[in-house]
């Protein structure tokens, strides 16, 4: 591992190539490999289902993760339960690996705040929507771990677009100065909506920005789940030693940015064709087949299991109780203020005595 990481300064850290050939000893057990494949299958199917549900009007704007399964699964699997993660809106895969129930994620995208209720024993934040804003938080949480001498780290997700924000530079600078045990995991998926990576920053790589902040930077093949796993494990060890790492995971957004987006307006199909060959699931399948771990029947079983879990989540989603006006007011402060109590009463009274109903328009929110 050590050698591989040093090698990375010249290039990209990769264990399994596009043809499923393995180039280094990874020492991962067969069960670990199976688990990786399972989470990737589950993530992709969940993302596909959510996209379908959006098209049927069952959830709102959704941001598919397709193509980024290896990055999300490999990274989330590489850290410990007591570690914390700070995900963006696209990290559905990382969330489910870390035991956030799928029903929460669907509820959230269906506009239900209860989706953000992360189970007590899971150290994940809900999705961050304002780009880059999670970065200084991750640094701060890691700093707090260090102050309290905890043996844990923070894994902070971000996209290539987020590296343009001041939040990124301030967050990384603090991490370098305070030696926070934090890993910045940037999924360079080629795009920030319609803006290609080359227009986002004039840096040759994103990873090289790490050096300016006195931390380690490495580039990993983000479609190689094993490489991602090992890279994050390595970064975790370094974080505990007081050296943060910025990992650039090279991957590709295989679908639209969000369901409100139309990539045909700006994306050349050629790119997609190139990246389809690098598909993270396809690659792992080839490798596992060579290792005699994969069979068609096994993958079918995984797909069925995933679909069952997804259907369960959808069913659970259908069974949640109706939201009440209280849900809008209860958690604003630790204790509701008199003013808010008054406003809530006014709303309830209004709802009990409606005279005119607004015709609910099925607008797409001004989106074209």
């Amino acid at each position: 591992m050590k050698d591989s990481v040093n090698f990375v300064k010249e290039g990209i850290f990769q264990i399994i190539d596009e043809r499923g050939e393995c180039h280094a000893d990874h020492n991962l057990s067969k069960n670990k490999l199976r688990e990786m494949f399972w989470w990737m299958i589950y993530s992709r199917r969940a993302s596909e289902k959510a996209l379908k549900m959006q098209r049927q009007g069952k959830i709102g704007t959704f941001l598919p993760l397709d193509g980024q399964e290896a990055s999300q699964v490999g990274s989330a699997m590489a850290i410990n339960k007591e570690d914390w993660i700070f995900p963006t809106y696209r990290e559905m895969g990382a969330q489910i690996v870390r035991s956030v129930p799928l029903v929460n994620i669907l509820l959230y995208y269906a506009g239900d705040i209860r989706g953000n209720l992360i189970p007590k024993n899971v150290n994940n934040l809900p999705f961050y929507i304002p780009v880059g804003t999670q970065i200084p938080h991750a640094t701060g949480t890691a700093w707090a771990m260090k102050i309290q001498k905890k043996r844990s780290v923070v894994l902070c997700y971000l996209g290539d677009g987020a590296t343009s924000k001041g939040d990124f530079h301030e967050g990384l600078n603090f991490a370098g100065v305070m030696k926070s045990p934090v890993i910045f995991f940037c999924q360079n998926n080629g795009w920030a909506i319609s803006v290609p990576r080359e227009k986002q920053t004039a840096s040759r790589t994103i990873a090289q920005k790490a050096f300016a902040y006195g931390m380690e930077g490495l580039i990993v093949d983000g479609n190689d789940v094993i490489a991602v796993y090992l890279a994050v494990q390595h970064a975790r060890k370094r974080a505990m030693e007081g050296v943060p790492t910025l990992i650039e995971a090279l991957t590709y957004r295989m679908k639209m940015h969000s369901t409100a987006d139309d990539p045909k307006r700006y994306e050349d199909n050629k790119n997609l064709k190139i990246w389809e060959k690098k598909d993270p699931i396809k690659r792992m399948r080839l490798y596992l087949k060579k290792e005699k771990i994969w069979t068609r029947g096994w993958e079918k079983t995984l797909e069925k299991k995933a679909d069952r879990l997804i259907e369960d989540a959808v069913k659970k989603m259908g069974k949640v109780s109706q939201l009440t006006p209280e849900d809008m007011f209860n958690s604003i402060y630790s204790k509701m203020t008199p003013k808010l109590t008054e406003e809530l009463e006014y709303l309830k009274e209004n709802l009990a005595n409606r005279e005119v109903e607004e015709e609910t328009q099925e607008i797409k929110g001004g989106f074209p």
Partner: protein, 323 residues
């Protein structure tokens, strides 16, 4: 030509860019993609050297716009959603709005910042904010909010020609809600001038942006009961048209102010303070406010409860009409 608000804004940009070569457009996804709402559609094609897809950084977008303006260009920046404006407020309030005063007029920064704002679009979290009152609190800045395609075009042209920094807030719920006849050529609508949408004698209902269609609907129902409602579309909240508001209240003696934003320190509060200053003795009833609640804008399942609607406006009006 019949246009919706998105098309009217696009048209204004096109006409002004043709007229003034110093105009540049910048923002996230405004170029090749034509903006996530397609408001800048086609402009990059037409003016490849004057329309820029920027890195994802709101502070950077506004800060560099100020620099360009200092040098004599006329930048029109887009902030993709109002919820992401916050980091740029440093640049807006410390610099864009003050540079004229700081340098006694030697330098100015007459940038335009266009921002889609508001809710009821089944939007994601943080995509539905209305904090226009925060902007109205910044001296040296103008804040314009159209609610119709006609006004959007005329007001944007005035905004671009203004010598001061102007934030142009676009009610995104209305971008494609309806079309109306909009002149093909350039025309201006005066900034700082409210519009009396409907004249009436018993009651004034005042609002701006996406509240206007709701106000119109409420007024129709109130008028059907035999009252006569005056409707004012404020159109600019800073500087706002006190004269028109005062005159209307002097006539009707009753005022309801409607705002989508949360209640405390919303712009409605300023309107009511103005009435207190000028028109207290003409009032026949206490002024009513219909507003959002003092909560962050909720996820979309609950937005129907969060935003004022015709029913709430009618109830508030009834109270005011009791006097």
């Amino acid at each position: 030509m019949k246009m919706n608000i998105a098309e009217a804004i696009n048209d204004a940009l096109k006409l002004e860019m043709k007229k003034n070569k110093n105009i540049v457009l910048l923002g996230e996804d405004v170029g090749v993609n034509g903006g996530v709402f397609r408001v800048t559609d086609g402009l990059k094609k037409k003016y490849p050297d004057r329309v820029f897809d920027t890195p994802l950084a709101e502070l950077g977008i506004v800060g560099t716009s100020i620099g360009m303006a200092l040098y004599g260009l006329k930048p029109i920046a887009e902030i993709q959603f109002m919820g992401f404006l916050w980091p740029a407020l440093d640049q807006i309030s410390n610099h864009a709005s003050r540079i004229r005063n700081r340098t006694m007029g030697r330098y100015t920064s007459n940038i335009v910042i266009r921002i889609p704002y508001g809710g009821e679009i089944r939007g994601l979290e943080h995509h539905t904010e209305s904090f226009e009152s925060v902007l109205s609190h910044i001296p040296g800045l103008k804040v314009v909010i159209p609610s119709t395609p006609y006004d959007a075009k005329g007001l944007l042209i005035s905004t671009i020609r203004d010598e001061n920094p102007v934030v142009f807030l676009e009610p995104k719920k209305l971008y494609r809600a309806f079309k109306e006849e909009v002149p093909k050529n350039s025309y201006t609508e005066e900034i700082g001038k409210a519009k009396i949408v409907n004249e009436g004698d018993d009651l004034t209902i005042l609002g701006w942006g996406a509240m206007m269609p709701k106000i119109k609907k409420a007024a129709e129902l109130i008028n059907a009961k035999g009252f006569s409602t005056e409707i004012i579309d404020l159109r600019t909240i800073s500087p706002y048209d006190e004269k028109t508001v005062n005159a209307s209240v002097e006539k009707t003696g009753r005022l309801v102010v409607v705002q989508e934003a949360s209640r405390t320190c919303g712009f409605a509060s300023e309107i009511i303070a103005g009435i207190n200053d000028n028109e207290l003795l003409h009032l026949k009833a206490p002024v009513a406010r219909v507003t959002g609640f003092d909560i962050p804008f909720p996820l979309y399942k609950m937005e129907k409860w969060a935003v004022p609607d015709a029913d709430r406006i009618i109830k508030a009006s009834k109270e005011v009409l009791k006097w």
